[in-house]
């Protein structure tokens, strides 16, 4: 141990137990899924470029919206954050590796074949899943294509991967901290991941339950979701959103963690209100379990239910706002420099806040009767998930790439990537607020002529945003192959966390004896 380096060739990756190798695999895999899901989005936006049906059949369009959502949520964003967790958590808490390294490798390797299976459903008889990423019954049961069975088992497999990955993160954080690294000294990124991992272990099994009920209803005659047998299709929505709402926080909490590292570094000030950040994250996690029916205001809930879920949802805005204020206060009077990671982090804070505001509008039950299932919802969740999560991921990659590779990325190219992404993103999704409020429904391949201009803007924005990601890829690859070695292990002068105390690139095994944290 300690001394020996990685094995050679492909076996290195197949048999590795090293958190850095596994983290890299997660990150590359998620990037591949990001491009795959992105190409589905390009097809969607190409079809919506103009009113009328021109490029794809409506049946195929439905498969594209479904697969775009599934691949982005489960294949791109979630594994990307797990990749960051693998790379950074052991280094940030002074541990040599993850607590359960072999299981760690298994969690990763389940993913590629599972997503291959999921993608292959597009070529099966009857086509791939076409019922939306939320797969509501009875669309996903009575009316589903046969490939739904493969979809169900793919969800099971990725659930197993997620649960094992999260258990590993919990064990690492609870058990592997260096002496002196008390809970309240942990970097925010570690805190947010600890809470995220808890959420994952709590709700992935519920998702497994939901798809199991579907499987039984489709093939074995049960009637969970059939009123004729005494069940209820609305039950599906309850089970799904009991998973689904915590899921959106699973996506956003690690992103909060990233900006809580990046903003202090580039403001050269410690994070403002560290303890309140921890408590806010924990309260968000707790509240996320009791707001799920805000996705179901229009299914016919009793009035007491509407009210309960409306107030609980609005309550979440309080700890969320506390976090936003803390980030802004961290920047206040800081000596700020605007390198690429910081640009992405600031943009994330502001654009996520826009998503939070549209969320508040949606949270108002009577108003949501108008907004529900319109493009306004699409705008809302892309502000939270693309600007909130993916901008944070871009920020994280630029921030830690010099630590991972020992080489500096091209700053100019990074800034170009940022500005093109920023403009492309807003051009895509801001107009969707307007068409949504004016009544354009989501998940349709054709639309009323009155929405034409805004949709064309959206499509142009999407192509801009999409192509700017190729620049991102190019910058990363060039850094690895031709990047200028960093002159200082610390890279960013304002950085304070443990990972910056080790050489850049970080050695294959970081802390084989634990560092002492004062």
């Amino acid at each position: 141990m300690g001394a020996h380096g990685p094995a050679k060739g492909l076996t290195r990756w197949l048999t590795t137990t090293n958190h850095k190798d596994i983290g890299s695999m997660y990150l590359w895999f998620s990037f591949a899924m990001f491009l795959l899901g992105g190409s589905f989005a390009m097809i969607i936006r190409a079809e919506l470029f103009q009113p009328g049906l021109q490029i794809v059949e409506p049946e195929f369009f439905n498969q594209m919206t479904t697969m775009h959502g599934l691949v982005m949520v489960f294949g791109a964003i979630m594994p990307a954050f797990v990749g960051l967790a693998n790379w950074m958590i052991p280094m940030m808490i002074g541990a040599p590796d993850m607590a359960l390294p072999r299981m760690n490798n298994w969690s990763f390797w389940i993913l590629p074949p599972t997503f291959l299976l999921l993608a292959s459903t597009l070529f099966m008889e009857g086509g791939g899943p076409n019922f939306g990423w939320t797969f509501y019954a009875p669309l996903s049961t009575t009316y589903a294509p046969p490939s739904v069975t493969f979809f169900i088992f793919a969800v099971h497999a990725m659930g197993i991967s997620s649960i094992m990955g999260s258990i590993n993160i919990i064990a690492t954080v609870v058990n592997m901290r260096a002496p002196g690294m008390t809970y309240m000294k942990m970097p925010m990124f570690v805190w947010t991941w600890l809470i995220t991992a808890f959420l994952l272990v709590a709700v992935m099994p519920v998702l497994a339950g939901a798809v199991t009920m579907m499987l039984m209803d489709i093939h074995f005659g049960t009637s969970f979701f059939s009123a004729a047998g005494g069940g209820d299709p609305v039950l599906f929505q309850h089970v799904f959103w009991f998973f689904g709402h915590p899921e959106v926080y699973i996506i956003i909490l690690p992103a909060f963690g990233v900006v809580s590292e990046v903003i202090p570094t580039f403001s050269r000030k410690p994070l403002f209100g560290y303890a309140s950040m921890v408590y806010a994250t924990a309260s968000i996690a707790f509240l996320s379990f009791i707001v799920w029916a805000h996705h179901m205001y229009t299914v016919g809930l009793p009035i007491a239910g509407e009210l309960f879920f409306m107030y609980a949802t609005m309550l979440i805005a309080v700890p969320t706002a506390a976090k936003v204020f803390n980030w802004i206060t961290t920047m206040f009077k800081g000596s700020i420099t605007l390198e690429t990671p910081m640009l992405f982090a600031i943009a994330k804070v502001f654009l996520f806040t826009v998503g939070g505001f549209s969320g508040l509008m949606l949270a108002i039950a009577p108003a949501d009767f108008q907004y529900h299932d319109s493009y306004f919802v699409v705008a809302h969740f892309h502000y939270t998930m693309v600007a909130g999560a993916i901008f944070a991921l871009s920020s994280a990659v630029y921030y830690w790439l010099p630590k991972w590779t020992g080489k500096m990325y091209n700053e100019t190219m990074g800034k170009v990537h940022f500005w093109v992404s920023f403009i492309g993103f807003n051009l895509t999704f801001f107009p969707q607020h307007f068409v949504g409020l004016a009544g354009m429904p989501r998940r349709i391949p054709d639309y009323n002529l009155m929405f034409a201009d805004f949709n064309m803007m959206s499509s142009i924005g999407a192509f801009i945003y999409g192509s700017s990601q190729l620049l991102f890829l190019f910058n990363i690859v060039r850094t690895i192959t031709h990047g200028k070695p960093v002159n200082d292990d610390k890279v960013w002068d304002g950085a304070t966390t443990l990972e910056w105390t080790v050489p850049s690139p970080a050695p294959y095994h970081t802390f084989s004896t634990p560092p002492e944290v004062k």
């Binding site: 197949l14 298994w106 046969p146 592997m176 005659g221 084989s512």
Partner: protein
């Protein structure tokens, strides 16, 4: 990290590279693909020759073999003294959170049961503001256990067609009899009661076995662990009898509407977990009797299985309450 003091702290153990994960992946993915194919073949092209079941069983066998080697490896490492106290604690944490994830899996099904019994059922019978339901299922009365499905109430599948329902997702004919509490007069023939007693006792015997190994009394450990495993097996046998009775005498099937659905899914998943727990405990028993594994201060393999067993037991108590009694 030269120069840093590590007084009082162990050096970490980072395991070698390992091909366990990749083999487990091959097994898991083949099983998953095989299972989906077998099910789809049965539903969409019955009677056709395919190799799906071969893929399923080969996958399962490969998966089981890999897990076997995996566990054998961890046991060997531990017995060779390679596991620091810290790593052992990581295993403990891992098992605890795994059980928590299982709790949440059952929570989904219990949640479905509560929702159907307290909300969806009464609404279907026209309670609340949703007066539409009396138009859709006129004459449907809600009671639990649900012996007459809404479909039955309007004359079965043909009645549903006559009523102009667009969607018909199958035939749901209510059961003839149910398995809930039959009254004190008939309590002697009520299998779930026996099963409750058996499972509660087994939790207790499992605990005695645990005390045995902690007192370094291997005989006591082996004996009481064996009794626990035997009780688990008896439980499974009684559940098999109960299923037989349910299917062939009471007419309770998976498609007997939502009563059959929740009954079989909840007790079925529980039974599957009992089977897993029994096998886990049996393996620990074999380890102790044939290889002399476990000592007074290191019996994690057994402890983990016993936590699992207590968990399965607690789930049963809830099942007994909400599926059978209330």
């Amino acid at each position: 990290m030269a120069g840093q003091s590590n007084a009082g702290h162990e050096t970490y153990y980072v395991p070698e590279k390992s091909s366990l994960a990749i083999n487990a992946t091959i097994g898991l993915v083949a099983s998953v693909y095989g299972a989906a194919s077998v099910i789809n073949d049965a539903s969409y092209r019955p009677g056709e020759e395919t190799n799906s079941s071969f893929i399923l069983f080969a996958g399962l066998a490969y998966f089981a073999a890999t897990l076997w080697v995996w566990f054998a490896t961890t046991i060997r490492e531990n017995r060779q003294g390679m596991n620091s106290a810290q790593l052992k604690h990581s295993y403990v944490i891992g098992m605890q959170w795994f059980i928590f994830s299982e709790v949440m899996f059952f929570a989904a099904f219990f949640g479905a049961l509560f929702y159907i019994r307290n909300l969806a059922g009464p609404w279907l019978a026209g309670e609340g503001d949703g007066a539409m339901n009396t138009l859709l299922w006129p004459g449907f009365e809600y009671s639990w256990p649900l012996m007459e499905t809404p479909q039955d109430a309007i004359g079965g599948v043909s009645g549903q067609a006559a009523a102009g329902h667009l969607a018909n997702n199958g035939e749901f004919t209510g059961a003839e009899k149910h398995l809930s509490f039959p009254g004190f007069a008939n309590i002697g023939h009520w299998l779930p009661l026996y099963n409750t007693i058996i499972l509660l006792t087994s939790s207790f015997t499992c605990h005695i076995a645990h005390m045995g190994i902690k007192e370094n009394n291997r005989k006591k450990f082996n004996l009481w662990l064996f009794i626990t495993v035997a009780l688990g097996a008896i439980f499974l046998y009684l559940q098999y009898m109960e299923y037989h009775e349910a299917l062939f005498e009471y007419g309770i099937k998976l498609n007997s509407g939502v009563y059959g659905t929740t009954f079989f899914m909840l007790t079925g998943f529980h039974g599957f977990h009992v089977a897993m727990g029994t096998v886990m405990l049996l393996i620990q028993w074999l380890r102790s009797t044939s290889k002399g594994h476990f000592t007074a201060d290191d019996q994690f393999g057994f402890e983990a299985s016993s936590w699992y067993w207590h968990f399965v037991d607690v789930v049963w108590v809830f099942l007994f309450l909400f599926v059978y009694i209330l």
